[in-house]
């Protein structure tokens, strides 16, 4: 069974059709790319999946369960996580707090426990803290644990974004332009990290990217959007030679 199934997804902003009849099937363990020129509607698709927008029409099913109509926090707690195109960390919270937050959907105690400092509360807090530290170590960020997020260098902030997304224990990870602003060497690192993530955390990855090296190097399937319409679906090599894609998007880079 497919992990994520999107059928006839359509979204309007006023009269503007941002996404039109978008279809997608993601199987567990895949890495799938979503590409397209600026304004093609890629981030809108992510926003629809994570409940930031409510689609005008269509279905999104995660493990067979309908996501349309659910609130973001419910969708996240079902096992989907995302990063953002521009860094949106909680700048004033510490690095550790940023990754602890992702556990919120899973914390199993109430205010009363917190006030009473009950055993349940302390166990849970400790578990979350330990898991947060583990995650920071895996991302080589542990030494920054008690620094405010805004004090980190750019590359570390991008790493923290991914670590924070993983803190809610997702099975599906949506990456919105993870290579934005990176130089070729950093992109190589990123590619390695994504491959490692996928195995280490048993993830399915759906990513938006502008840099062809990233998409072509890592994705098993690619969907191409242009003005909200799906203009091509296929393996990287097929996409690279698809005349419609070349026309809309790849033209200059390939020729």
């Amino acid at each position: 069974m497919s992990l994520l199934q999107i059928e006839g997804l359509t979204h309007f902003f006023g009269g503007l059709k941002a996404v039109s009849d978008f279809n997608l099937e993601l199987s567990a363990g895949e890495v799938v790319g979503l590409i397209g020129p600026n304004g093609a509607g890629k981030t809108t698709v992510f926003n629809l999946i994570t409940g930031v927008y409510k689609p005008s029409a269509g279905h999104i099913r995660f493990e067979g369960q309908e996501l349309v109509g659910l609130q973001s926090c419910q969708i996240i707690s079902m096992g989907i996580a995302r990063t953002f195109q521009t860094i949106r960390l909680f700048r004033d919270l510490t690095v550790l707090d940023n990754v602890r937050l992702g556990h919120f959907a899973q914390a199993r105690y109430g205010i009363r426990d917190a006030l009473m400092r009950s055993g349940k509360f302390r166990d849970e807090e400790k578990r979350i803290r330990d898991k947060g530290m583990e995650l920071l170590e895996a991302f080589n960020l542990a030494r920054y644990a008690h620094t405010q997020a805004k004090a980190l260098p750019y590359g570390e902030q991008r790493r923290l974004e991914i670590a924070r997304a993983l803190s809610s224990n997702p099975r599906l990870l949506l990456l919105d332009e993870p290579a934005a602003g990176m130089n070729p060497r950093e992109i190589d690192e990123l590619l390695e990290r994504i491959a490692w993530l996928k195995d280490e955390f048993d993830l399915t990855i759906f990513l938006i990217e502008h840099q062809m090296r990233v998409v072509m190097g890592i994705c098993e399937h690619i969907t191409v959007l242009d003005f909200g319409e799906t203009i091509a679906v296929g393996a990287p090599r097929e996409i690279q030679t698809n005349p419609r894609v070349l026309e809309a998007y790849l033209g200059k880079e390939v020729s």
């Binding site: 609130q71 707690s77 006030l115």
Partner: protein, 301 residues
């Protein structure tokens, strides 16, 4: 002179504690919604009435005094929290995407509603809060110190420490800070934003509810308009401390309370206290526009 000064310090501590409990509600709600909840003073007034009726009900049964006191506090805190959450759901939540001015005007309207609703149902006659606890006066040298005074100061400080712990240490507090910083991102990180906002209203008002009972123990006259002046003072306290900042609100509350108790010692009449309080407010805002402990934020354009 020293004795009078010390005595007034004590009175200032007592009054400041009550102001702090109310100022916390302003500052927490502002922190999370950028909404100045002008109804908060009247929510405080409602809590005094809850305390009053609870006290009457419990006193008519033969239960131990300290139990009566605790039960009264609990009932007032709980009911006040319920009322505040109800107000948030009914009046503020539908306006979350509306211009900020709409929500502020709604808050003013809710305040007027609470005052007039109380006036209409309970009448304008002031009620006298029964003494829940025996008020023993202690003498510390030349200082006089009442048990109620000590109780108010201690309970307030304990509540403030608890609240500070919740905000700084717990997951709920962290979620509050995250929601305060960026609601959209917090939501997509799995934080149940609506629940966190309700929790914030509940905590802020429960604390004001505790303040209501403590206040009416010290100044046992309850009337429908009592929330107006105290609400304003607590609001000014929150602004002086840096609205949105929990510790700032506590600091601002004690500063204002000292202004209030020391003004009559220096100036000819206690009616100058508003003048002095607003002067302090203006000076703080001129020197530090974000308040004493507020952080500088850039306005998003």
């Amino acid at each position: 002179m020293i004795i009078i000064l010390m005595q007034q310090m004590l009175n200032g501590l007592q009054l400041g504690s009550v102001y702090a409990l109310i100022a916390l509600g302003y500052t927490m709600v502002y922190g999370i919604l950028r909404l100045i909840n002008f109804a908060h003073g009247d929510i405080f007034m409602i809590s005094c009435y809850f305390g009053f009726f609870a006290a009457i009900a419990f006193l008519s049964n033969a239960i131990p005094t300290w139990l009566t006191f605790i039960a009264t506090m609990m009932v007032s805190m709980l009911l006040t929290a319920l009322v505040a959450v109800l107000i948030e759901r009914v009046a503020y939540k539908p306006l979350r995407l509306a211009p900020r001015v709409s929500a502020v005007i709604t808050a003013l309207g809710i305040g007027l509603f609470l005052e007039n609703f109380t006036l209409a149902t309970l009448g304008p006659t002031p009620r006298g809060m029964p003494a829940l606890l025996p008020n023993v006066n202690y003498r510390l040298g030349a200082l006089s110190l009442s048990s109620v005074q000590i109780l108010i100061i201690i309970i307030s400080i304990v509540l403030m420490i608890l609240l500070d712990r919740v905000v700084q240490k717990t997951m709920t507090g962290m979620a509050m800070r995250a929601v305060s910083y960026d609601k959209a991102t917090a939501s997509v990180m799995g934080v149940p934003v609506d629940r966190i906002i309700s929790t914030t209203f509940a905590i802020g008002s429960a604390v004001a509810g505790a303040g209501g009972v403590l206040y009416s123990l010290a100044y046992p006259i309850i009337n429908p308009y009592m929330g107006v002046r105290i609400g304003w003072w607590a609001f000014i306290a929150a602004v002086i401390g840096g609205i949105g900042n929990v510790r700032g609100a506590m600091l601002g509350a004690y500063i204002l309370a000292f202004v209030e108790v020391f003004t009559p010692m220096v100036l000819p009449s206690s009616t100058y206290r508003d003048f002095v309080a607003f002067t302090v407010l203006l000076i703080v805002l001129v020197v530090r526009p974000t308040g004493l402990m507020g952080r500088v934020t850039a306005q998003k354009v």
